[in-house]
Point group: C2
DNA sequence: ACACATGGTTTGAATATCGAACCATGAAAT
DNA sequence: ATTTCATGGTTCGATATTCAAACCATGTGT
């Protein structure tokens, strides 16, 4: 692991709950030496990736990120494309729809839209990390993303969120296989009681999935018929997103989706 | 200059016109060795700061930037705060208002809003770099930002855009002094014929300006009376932005603005 | 088949990074 | 006022990473 990776990893310690971090705290979080961390932090700051509060001396994410994110979105509008489709689907179905993007071993929410059907809404927290083994989106990534993801998901014991969370690695692998042949991922109250989801992957190229789009509903609204409807809608939307992103569905995926549809 | 800075600088070569760059091209642009650049690029890619097109093998800005930008904006909503004020001011005056942020030696546009009064609009290009010596915003940064900016602005010869562009370093320094005592920056057709602007800085702390907010109008609508109106409006808006960003106006600035207002 | 450009990899030599120990400052506590 | 603790920040010799030149592999147009 090179210097650049180590430095950039510091940025991942900023979260919604800890938006600014001091030097010593960051050394604790990263497990590296204080002098090293300090050099990294100041160098990141000089480049606008961090800012330092002049009073508390704590560091926070910097405005260079805004500029580069803007530019990326202007020249390669992933976010806009996906958000449009998410909104469209949510409106069409009247349910909560959300999309997440994979980066490395991290799956993070990109956008969501709740049409607010019937008053019951599902909580969904943005800009945080999504656990792979307990969500439909995460399972979709394990099944259709880079093969290495599965191994990586098992290095740590699987956290339990509810009674339904899969914590046995063997069961998880079996579930991944099921999902692969079904062409969609599903999760029943595995991260939160009363919430069921289905998810499908989308592609930026024709190899591995780069993200997933999911529908989450109160468990009372999920049955065989509604699930079929949701999955079909997701398949269509994913195909549209994939096309707009300049990717294409892998042959085996296309086969499943079109035969079952 | 450390490794991190050199690697991060590669990101700055992506522009709206060159949104994806290959290895050799990047070597040329950065002036560094090919092996080095390749290591940097792959390491940036592994962290999601770049993505590589699977066909052309070119690199483009990655989605980690979206995630981090999102998080920054959620925990420290610079962009939202400024955009709100820009919109408000533009609506109030019916003129084009824009804001830019300083990062290092780079001034880049953050947002703009043209209320579209009278059909005449001013062209404004986002996500690019703003020249310091030829714009009101840039001059505001030279006058009220980090003192080192002025030196840095003079290392290269001053590019000429129109007949009115200041290209003589001595004249530039004199102009900076004028602006400092006036409390606002102005520019008359220095970057584009027929466009006049006024600009004032805003602050995230109480030392140096971190950005500028400006009004650009067709030269026919700029006279002593309208300029006074624009400057006054900018002062109020900057004070509001500065406060919302958690900063405060330096004593000497406050004195000028309140006495003249 | 050939030249040429691209992406990517290897090598010893050079250089920048690492990290233990150190300094400086400020806030509580005695 | 002095001590203590925690913080941010700096120094410097050992060492691990980066550098740059040469090389390989692949694809493309002639």
């Amino acid at each position: 692991m090179g210097t650049i990776t180590k430095a950039l990893n510091l940025l991942n310690h900023f979260t919604e709950l800890t938006p600014s971090i001091g030097l010593v705290e960051m050394t604790r979080l990263s497990g590296q030496d204080k002098a090293t961390v300090h050099r990294y932090l100041t160098e990141l700051e000089r480049n606008g990736f961090l800012e330092q509060d002049s009073k508390t001396r704590k560091y926070r994410l910097g405005s260079a990120l805004l500029r580069l994110s803007f530019l990326r979105e202007k020249t390669f509008p992933t976010s806009r494309i996906i958000a449009n489709r998410v909104n469209g689907l949510s409106e069409e179905l009247g349910e909560l729809v959300h999309a997440s993007l994979l980066q490395g071993n991290r799956l993070s929410p990109l956008c969501y839209r709740d049409a607010g059907s019937g008053g019951t809404r599902v909580y969904f927290d943005q800009a945080d990390m999504i656990p792979f083994h307990a969500t439909a989106s995460g399972m979709a990534m394990l099944a259709f993303g880079d093969k290495a993801l599965v191994k990586n998901a098992l290095v740590e014991p699987l956290a339990r969120f509810t009674e339904n969370t899969i914590t046995d690695p063997k069961l998880l692998l079996a579930r991944v296989e099921t999902i692969r042949s079904a062409g969609f991922a599903f999760s029943d109250q595995a991260v939160e009681v009363d919430v069921s989801s289905v998810a499908v992957p989308f592609y930026q190229d024709e190899n591995q999935a780069t993200g997933a789009i999911a529908i989450a509903v109160p468990v009372t609204r999920m049955n065989a018929a509604s699930q079929r409807k949701f999955v079909h809608a997701l398949w269509c939307t994913s195909e549209a997103i994939t096309k707009e992103l300049g990717g294409s569905l892998p042959a085996e995926i296309r086969k499943i989706w079109h035969n079952e549809g």
